[in-house]
């Protein structure tokens, strides 16, 4: 641990400035990620943490790693996360009710385990180890150096990982696959005409067109003066955003009241 402090103390000035500016931001963002209520904010803060990490990588001469971190994690992975979160809804914040029994102790245990693992790894990486060989590794250029290692020494591991990823992608596709037959627009229109009734071939009646009020929540009136229930969007009906249609009808019942 002492060694690490020494390292930090002896870093050159621009790097030290960068560290002391960016590191608190990264840590604050990481804490914020855990503490904010809305899931989208949390995802955004995570994206920010990833970008700061990328900046650190670049500052440590790992240019390729830094850029790829932004392209892959910030650009692709986090974006997919955001996608899902957004589709869940604008106002949804996490409910704090536990559904699975014993989830809390299990997750605490897992978190402690992961923390211990990370700590021991970091400790091994920084105590009594002098980092050497960066310049030799980067002599031919950072990208070339990585390519050299990746496609000679670690080519087997690389291929295994790619096979794993492809398997995962295929698995996801199989799980998400549904045997729905695709119907083309032409097929749909032909079907509409063939279904017998020509009344709805041109689409459902628009709301309120023949009624006294031209609003989406007011039903259209049929020739006999009664309301056409299909003229109002099912969404509005489900939400309950719909006015009682009886007063708008021209049916005898209304006229009798008058």
């Amino acid at each position: 641990m002492f060694n690490m402090a020494l390292h930090v103390g002896s870093t050159q000035r621009p790097e030290a400035v960068l560290f002391w500016v960016m590191a608190p931001m990264a840590v604050l963002a990481a804490l914020g990620m855990l503490l904010v209520k809305k899931a989208v904010h949390s995802a955004l803060l995570l994206a920010w943490v990833m970008i700061t990490l990328a900046i650190f990588y670049i500052a440590e001469d790992a240019l390729f790693l830094g850029i790829v971190q932004v392209v892959v994690y910030t650009g692709a992975v986090m974006m997919l996360f955001l996608f899902i979160l957004m589709l869940v809804g604008v106002d949804s914040s996490d409910s704090l009710v536990e559904n699975i029994k014993g989830q809390r102790p299990a997750s605490i245990l897992a978190a402690l385990g992961l923390g211990g693992l990370l700590l021991s790894l970091i400790a091994r990486a920084v105590t009594n180890v002098d980092a050497v060989g960066l310049t030799t590794a980067n002599t031919a250029g950072n990208v070339q150096g990585i390519a050299q290692e990746l496609f000679t020494r670690y080519v087997w591991a690389f291929e295994v990982v790619s096979a794993l990823l492809i398997t995962a992608a295929l698995g996801a596709m199989v799980l998400a696959h549904s045997e729905r037959k695709h119907t083309s627009q032409r097929q749909l229109s032909v079907d509409r005409f063939r279904q017998g009734s020509l009344a709805q071939t041109a689409g459902l009646p628009a709301s309120g067109v023949y009624a006294r009020h031209n609003a989406v929540d007011v039903p259209a009136l049929l020739p006999d003066g009664s309301a056409a229930p299909t003229s109002i969007s099912p969404t509005l009906q489900a939400r309950g955003d719909i006015i009682e249609s009886a007063p708008f009808e021209l049916a005898p019942s209304v006229e009798e009241e008058n």
Partner: protein
């Protein structure tokens, strides 16, 4: 001395000056391109376009910008305020950042310093541009989500799905360039094109890049994110005043950015057109910038031309095209390019290379003729139960005999 070491010698103030030049260039180009687009589209539609403010209406976009800035700035009640404000800022800042690695000139003198007109030269410059573009998508997605309204959300999701998908195709089209140039640095790629432009050598990559750059910038015919008939204004429906102006700025700067990247990677960057190489030394090397921007403006004209000519594509067809056509084609093309590269690196005899190329061409022709045949067959099969005659008049479709069915129902 190459570009990277020249840039490495720049004093701090020179970097600041260059940054300023790049920024000003981008903003002025945006103003000019908004005006240019309106004038060109007007010409294509037999109108005059803006011609009142300033000579030829040149100051029209300036006036529009001032008007936008003076408008009322609304934030919807349902909006997520912080994200709503951050989103346009992300869009407008990231779009400028990709210009940092664009080589605008070769070696020139700037305030007595020998340098190149390029802010920085990264060994992974092109990947950096892709990274910046992928961060820029956040602006769109967040704008759509934070507006707290349905159309912007749908528009934001649509456009980000579109940008991400077409970024994949774009990235793949760039791989062939990397293989040929042997580098991912923009200045090295430009230098590698002194003899032949990659737009000629790697023509399929060039085509794929051009298609995906239109998809990536959300421009017509791929402007589904703001399909006004379906989604009002797309992700920026709820934006007004300066925040909207930022999105507007970002859109045009992005167009210039992807055009610049296309120029750099495929059309020889700041190098002159073939046969006009002597012009490159004019004005002490600064004339390269003229060539660069001439090419960029050429691409911009292409954008406007597409907008003036083509109707908007349907969303599912567009995504299908990206994933099922562009990406597989570019993967196959990369395989071919890599094989050719290995062959030339190993010094294989010309006959082998020619035989390989011929074999590839034959394979493509065989595949395309098979595909066409299968399309013809399925299109005949597809006609729905043509045995049962419809009892009403329908538009003529191959396989349904319209005249007879009418006659039958009449008789």
């Amino acid at each position: 001395m190459n570009a990277a070491s020249l840039i490495g010698n720049d004093p701090g103030w020179l970097i600041a000056v260059k940054g300023l030049i790049v920024f000003v260039l981008c903003v002025v180009l945006t103003l000019m391109s908004v005006w240019g687009e309106r004038r060109i589209v007007a010409r294509m539609q037999m109108r005059l376009g803006p011609n009142r403010v300033g000579p030829f209406g040149l100051l029209q976009s300036l006036a529009d910008g001032v008007k936008l800035a003076l408008k009322e700035d609304l934030i919807p009640k349902a909006a997520d305020r912080i994200v709503f404000v951050i989103a346009p800022v992300i869009s407008a800042t990231t779009c400028f950042m990709s210009f940092a690695v664009m080589p605008l000139t070769g070696k020139v003198k700037l305030f007595g310093h020998s340098t190149v007109m390029q802010l920085t030269d990264l060994p992974v410059g092109v990947l950096y541009v892709l990274a910046i573009a992928s961060v820029g998508v956040y602006g769109i997605v967040l704008a759509g989500w934070s507006s707290g309204s349905t159309y912007p959300l749908l528009g934001g999701l649509r456009s980000s799905a579109q940008v991400i998908s077409y970024e994949v195709a774009m990235g793949l089209s760039l791989v062939a360039v990397f293989i040929y140039a042997g580098s991912m640095s923009t200045s090295d790629i430009v230098e590698a094109q002194q003899k032949w432009w990659f737009g000629v050598v790697l023509f399929p990559s060039f085509i794929i890049y051009m298609i995906s750059m239109v998809g990536e910038t959300n421009r017509a015919p791929f402007d589904l994110a703001e399909a006004e008939g379906e989604l009002v204004g797309g992700f920026h429906t709820e934006y007004s005043s300066l925040k909207f102006a930022l999105f507007f700025l970002a859109e045009y700067v992005n167009i210039v950015a992807v055009s610049s990247l296309a120029t750099t990677l495929f059309l020889g960057g700041y190098h002159a057109l073939p046969g006009l190489g002597f012009t490159e030394s004019w004005l002490g090397g600064w004339f390269g910038m003229v060539w660069f921007f001439a090419k960029v403006i050429g691409f911009f004209y292409l954008f406007v031309w597409l907008r003036g000519t083509l109707p908007r594509m349907r969303y599912d067809q567009f995504m299908k095209f990206g994933w099922k056509v562009l990406i597989p084609v570019s993967l196959l093309w990369i395989l071919v390019v890599a094989t050719l590269r290995v062959m030339s690196a190993r010094g294989e005899p010309r006959a082998v290379v020619a035989a390989f190329t011929f074999g590839i061409v034959m394979l493509i022709m065989a595949a395309s003729s098979l595909y066409e045949r299968s399309v013809r067959n399925t299109s005949i099969d597809q006609i729905p139960d043509s045995s049962t005659e419809p009892s009403f008049p329908v538009p003529h479709v191959a396989g349904i005999n319209r005249v007879e069915s009418i006659n039958e129902s009449n008789g």
